[in-house]
Symmetry: C2
Amino acid sequence: MKRPALFRALALCSLLALALGARQAFPDQGRRVKAFIDKNGASILKEYSEFLSIPNVASAAKNIRRNAEAIVAMLRRRGVEARLLEGEGCPPLVYGEIAQPGAKKTIIFYAHYDGQPIDPVQWKDDPWKPVLRDRRLEDAGKIVDRSAITFERGRDYRLYGRSTSDDKAPIMALAVAVDFLKSELTSPSINLKFLFEGEEEAGSPHLQGLLRKYRELLRADALFICDGPVDQTGRMQVTFGARGSMGLEMTVYGPNHPLHSGHYGNWAPNPISLLTGLLAGTRDQDGGIGIEGFYDDVRPVSEADKNAIAELPDIDARLRREYGLAWSEAGNARLASRILMPALNFRGLEAGAVGAKAANAVPAEARASIDFRLVPDQDPENVKKLVEAHISARGFHILWRDPTPDERINHAKLIKLEWEDGYPPYRLALDDPFGREVVRTLGAALSEPPLRLPALGGSVPMKMFADVLGIPVLGLPIVNYDNNQHGPNENLRLGNLWDGIAVFAALFSGLGQDWR
Amino acid sequence: MKRPALFRALALCSLLALALGARQAFPDQGRRVKAFIDKNGASILKEYSEFLSIPNVASAAKNIRRNAEAIVAMLRRRGVEARLLEGEGCPPLVYGEIAQPGAKKTIIFYAHYDGQPIDPVQWKDDPWKPVLRDRRLEDAGKIVDRSAITFERGRDYRLYGRSTSDDKAPIMALAVAVDFLKSELTSPSINLKFLFEGEEEAGSPHLQGLLRKYRELLRADALFICDGPVDQTGRMQVTFGARGSMGLEMTVYGPNHPLHSGHYGNWAPNPISLLTGLLAGTRDQDGGIGIEGFYDDVRPVSEADKNAIAELPDIDARLRREYGLAWSEAGNARLASRILMPALNFRGLEAGAVGAKAANAVPAEARASIDFRLVPDQDPENVKKLVEAHISARGFHILWRDPTPDERINHAKLIKLEWEDGYPPYRLALDDPFGREVVRTLGAALSEPPLRLPALGGSVPMKMFADVLGIPVLGLPIVNYDNNQHGPNENLRLGNLWDGIAVFAALFSGLGQDWR
């Protein structure tokens, strides 16, 4: 596939710009991006709405492919070399590239084009027919025509539809950032690679294999994961890591069928009692984890991390109010510091029945569901061993399948464990040269420097990219935090789309060549 | 209503018999009952099947009344004065009476004519068209015609249908026992009163009011509750008490909606953690209750209780095998002794979700359902106070309704409690004169003395009868323990019906006049 002539021309300009000191070449770029959006906003929204109208539920293979092909077309319209990277029995990756003669660095921007399943009855509007409102639905937002609005960033315009935020917004913003550079007759300071996945919401089961398969093509110096929301205050942020995750299902056994609690209560062992006793010992009510050795591999929080946290806005009191909480764990320790620590979260309980359905019986079994959040240098396999050792030490005989009748009779305390795969934790040092360069570039381009989040509380496959491609990875979210991600009435605050375009344009044209 | 002539005649014979030493008048009555059943078994089964064919789900008022009227007719056919005792907005009680001139004692036999709801798809046969099988369904029992069978007690004939066991069997057996006495041209040694309730399976919400309303009519010296199954070994038993019961629903609160466990896990308080910590402190895994003061009112187990338990067959090892248990609580202490102690049974848990539905979130709330079993001299109101004091002492702010947003923000640990009404415990001393007379009478009539169970593990309204009527109450079950009570394929072992007839006939004619 041939690289378009325009970009060859732009490349020459770029070399010239670099020679003239490209690192400070766009001090007022933000203002020019605004002018670009003022002029092109309606057509941007038209293109985005058409893209959003292609259903993208991860399980619908045909529509997923339509999305992939639409992105290829979208990139090619802009002169980006683009194509599908196929795998076995999975949606294709969309790959795009702008190779920049003379550029010393290559950066991958990753996002995903599949979306969460929808429950239409819960949606105010059709999730596949994007609707623009003048403010949030919760604030009685009214439908407005996209040609009739103005594009001031301060307004709270919202575009409603599946994947408006998660995660088609970065794809659209990246494409428009390319348009902006073209409109400026300038070119990227770096080689750009785009990588868009089609089954992130299904847990990215094929991503690692695809990265290995296309490792040569994906050779780069760093990668941005463009997913998730910005800070609750609306400030742009760069995330230097993410907690890992693991899931665990536990089933504890009582009698082989429920027994009348009058006739057998306090004779037949109660599985809820066995389970709650076990759970109560794994963590305290303040979030502290009681599994022996659990903290041994936890890397101490560095001074740099502490300093970065100190710079983050303190939103804890506001969040507690918003979430109806009188307190938060570890003595109201700050959220930003808590997500630098591992977490043991009880996500579910099920046994017998409660309320009107409760029967006076000793239940046959009791189940708990747990998710762990891990931090460097915890290793999921080692955590499994520690958890199982903790359970064994409490007298449980561990199985990884249902017990046989003989096992029930021969073991006083039986537990079935089912481990779910998850993500290992990842952390890039705050003083990593790439991270510093990104923060510098954005600081120069935006009205205020980006926040530096040492780690996202949630789990994204940063470590997978880092390990397979051997490069540093940063998280670069652009969308609003109140986007109803994964739920009904997902929306994108238009101001966040405009900011995203500015951010990507700043990185395309402003990232230097000398970090390593 | 006039008392039939026959019974007047029988009354005279009875007086004569008493004068001749009625207490030993029927040493071979069991043999004669058997001959009576051999002769009349087919017509007994015909009458019983017709009675069982009237649907008796407690919530269907019209059918419930048809049952009540059928029982009145059934009693009148036998010369028993019978009528309905009406209450406000509830099924009528069926009342019947055989007044015996010269008798010094009056005994009430209580049973209930309503049944549990049915789920037809789970039944092998129509629950309202009784079917006779030559053995249990589990043993591949085949349908047999009632006229073609023999009535040896050793056979395992089963009659399938709703309420075959629970609790129409005693009603039928009592009626046939009257027939038997008539066939013997003898009469009861005591005044008999029959009392059959129509909403026991709905929790007897009107029973106490009805007992108060008809207290004068129900004047008596003692009452039998004819409900529940006999011992698992098949031995006839008399129960001298029952544990009380109480229900409690607990809801513990976290954030006002589920929060992403990556972003908020180990910052937002986890309601499952709060709940499991609380539950783990209320009882240990061995059945011991950790609520301060819970055992203070527990009457020590008497020597007489211990002796009675020592006489019971030891079925614990067999039950553990049957129920798939390697152990039972309190170091394999005997079931019969454990049900003399109070129990705290966890009957249900619910929070978030487990398995495939588990979401990585801090749940908004966690619920537990508990039932207590109480023993003398525990008082439900005092137990409530102790439980609430225990919970308060652990820092929980207790509500009896949903929390307001302000309460959520102002209290670190919030819990909602919903108490369910239950039954207080009841215990008649093993050396109570009435109890002794019953054991003596049955011992003389049966091939072996009845077991004396100090208390039933389950809860029945013995104390309500004892308190309102001011008389001793005993439990006298007749049906087989494996009757599938409350479930599909409820059945009655015919041998138990025959035994029940013999037991009631023995009591009718053999109970002495001198106990008090």
